[in-house]
Point group: C2
Chain length 199, copies 2
DNA sequence: ATAATGTGTGAACGTATGGTCACTTGTTTT
DNA sequence: AAAACAAGTGACCATACGTTCACACATTAT
C-alpha cells in the first residue's frame, strides 16, 4: 500500500496496546486491522518490541512538546473565573482527545513493566500538570488574585484532584460528563478557598 | 504438599500479576515458584482465569472489610494535628503493606481489560479514600476544628493528592520516603488552609 | 532498458502456552 | 483392610505466537 503504513501500524498499535496491553496484543490482529498480513509488519519494524519502542519515542517527544516547551505554558488568567475556564478547556481537551486518552491507558497498563513507561506515567499522572500550574499560580499571586502561598503546593493541591477525575473519565467514559462536572465544581471550590475575596 | 497450596497459588499469582499482568503470567512459572509442576495447578483451579476470578473475589471481599464496614470507619480526630497523624498512619500502612501494593498494581494494569478490576480501581483510586474521609471532616466541622463546608468536597480535595502520592510510591518505591514526606507536607498545608485558627 | 529498492504475500519454523489425562502416592473414610 | 479421595507428576495435545524467508510486483534510480 502507501508509504504511511508505518504510521498506521503505530496508530493501531497504540489503540490495541491501550486496550489489551503489550503482551495482550498480537501482530496478526494488528496487521489484519490494516488489511495486511502479519509478515508485512516486518518490512516496517524489525520486531514487535521495536513498535513498542517507537511508540514510546513518539510519546516522549509529544510530551516534550506539550508540557516541556516554553510556548505551551498556559497564560496567567486575569481573574479567578479565568482559571476555571482555562482548567475546563484543558480537561475537556485531554479527556476527549482519543490519542491522549489511549496514551494514558497504555502508560497505566505498562508502568510497572517498562522503565520508560514508568517515567512517563509519573509525568502524566503527577508532575506534568503540577509543573504546568505552578507558574500559573505564582502569576496569579503576583496579580493579587490568590493569597500568597507556596505556588508549587497550591498547584499540587489543585491538579491532583483534577488528574484523578481525568483518570476516572478514562476508566468510565460513559460517565465522563459527570466527572468533568465534578472537576468544575472542584475548581470553583478551590478559587473560593484560595482566591482573594476582592477578586 | 499441604492443603494451603490453593492459597499459595493465589498469593504467587497476585505477585506475578502485579509485575507482568494477567496475560504476561504463565502457569509454568507460577507453579514452579511453588516447587510444583504446571499440571498440579489444575487440582486447585479449573483454569488460569479461575485464579484471576478467585483473586478478584478476594480483593472485593477484603475491600469490603477495610472500607465498607462500619467498624473500620476512622475515628474523628480531636485536633488538626490528629488528622495529620491519622493520615500518615494510613499512608504508611497502605504504602508498606505488600499485598495492598500488589493489589493496586494489578488493578492499574487490568482496569481496562476486566470489568470488576475497573470497578475496584475506581474505588481504590478515587472513591474509597474520599468516602472514608467524608464523615471524618463532617465530624471535625461539628467539633469546630474545621471551617464548615461541604465535607464530601473537602474529603475529595484532601484525599486525591494523598492518593496520587500513594501511586507515586507504587511506581517508584525507591523514592517512597520522599513521597510520604510530601504527603505529610500536603496534610499540614491542608489543615493550615481549612482549619479553624483557634484549633 | 535494467537494476535496485520498497512494499506486500504465503508458507514454514521453533517455541511457549493453557489444558488434558492416565498414573502414583499419601491420607482419610468406612 | 479396603475403598475413596486429595494432591502431585510427566507425557502429551492443539493452538497461538513472533519471526524468517523465498517470492511477486510495483516504483524509482541508473
Amino acid at each position: 500500500m502507501a508509504k504511511d503504513t508505518k504510521e498506521r501500524i503505530l496508530a493501531t498499535a497504540l489503540e490495541m496496546f491501550s486496550r489489551n496491553g503489550y503482551v495482550g496484543t498480537n501482530i496478526r490482529e494488528l496487521t489484519a486491522a490494516l488489511g495486511l498480513v502479519k509478515s508485512s509488519m516486518y518490512k516496517h519494524f524489525e520486531s514487535k518490541e521495536a513498535i513498542w519502542n517507537a511508540l514510546l519515542d513518539e510519546m516522549i517527544a509529544y510530551y516534550g512538546v506539550r508540557f516541556g516547551s516554553a510556548e505551551n505554558l498556559p497564560p496567567v488568567p486575569d481573574s479567578l473565573e479565568g482559571l476555571v475556564e482555562m482548567t475546563m478547556r484543558l480537561v475537556n481537551f485531554t479527556v476527549h482527545d482519543e490519542k491522549i486518552v489511549m496514551t494514558r491507558k497504555v502508560l497505566a497498563i505498562e508502568q510497572f513493566r517498562d522503565e520508560r513507561a514508568n517515567m512517563l506515567a509519573s509525568k502524566h499522572f503527577l508532575t506534568g500538570l503540577t509543573e504546568m500550574f505552578t507558574p500559573v499560580f505564582a502569576g496569579m499571586m503576583d496579580k493579587g488574585l490568590i493569597k500568597r502561598d507556596d505556588p508549587g503546593m497550591l498547584a499540587f493541591a489543585y491538579t491532583a484532584p483534577i488528574s484523578a477525575l481525568i483518570h476516572q473519565c478514562d476508566r468510565e467514559p460513559e460517565h465522563a460528563e459527570e466527572a468533568i462536572a465534578r472537576a468544575e465544581a472542584f475548581s470553583r471550590h478551590f478559587i473560593k478557598v484560595y482566591g482573594m475575596q476582592s477578586a
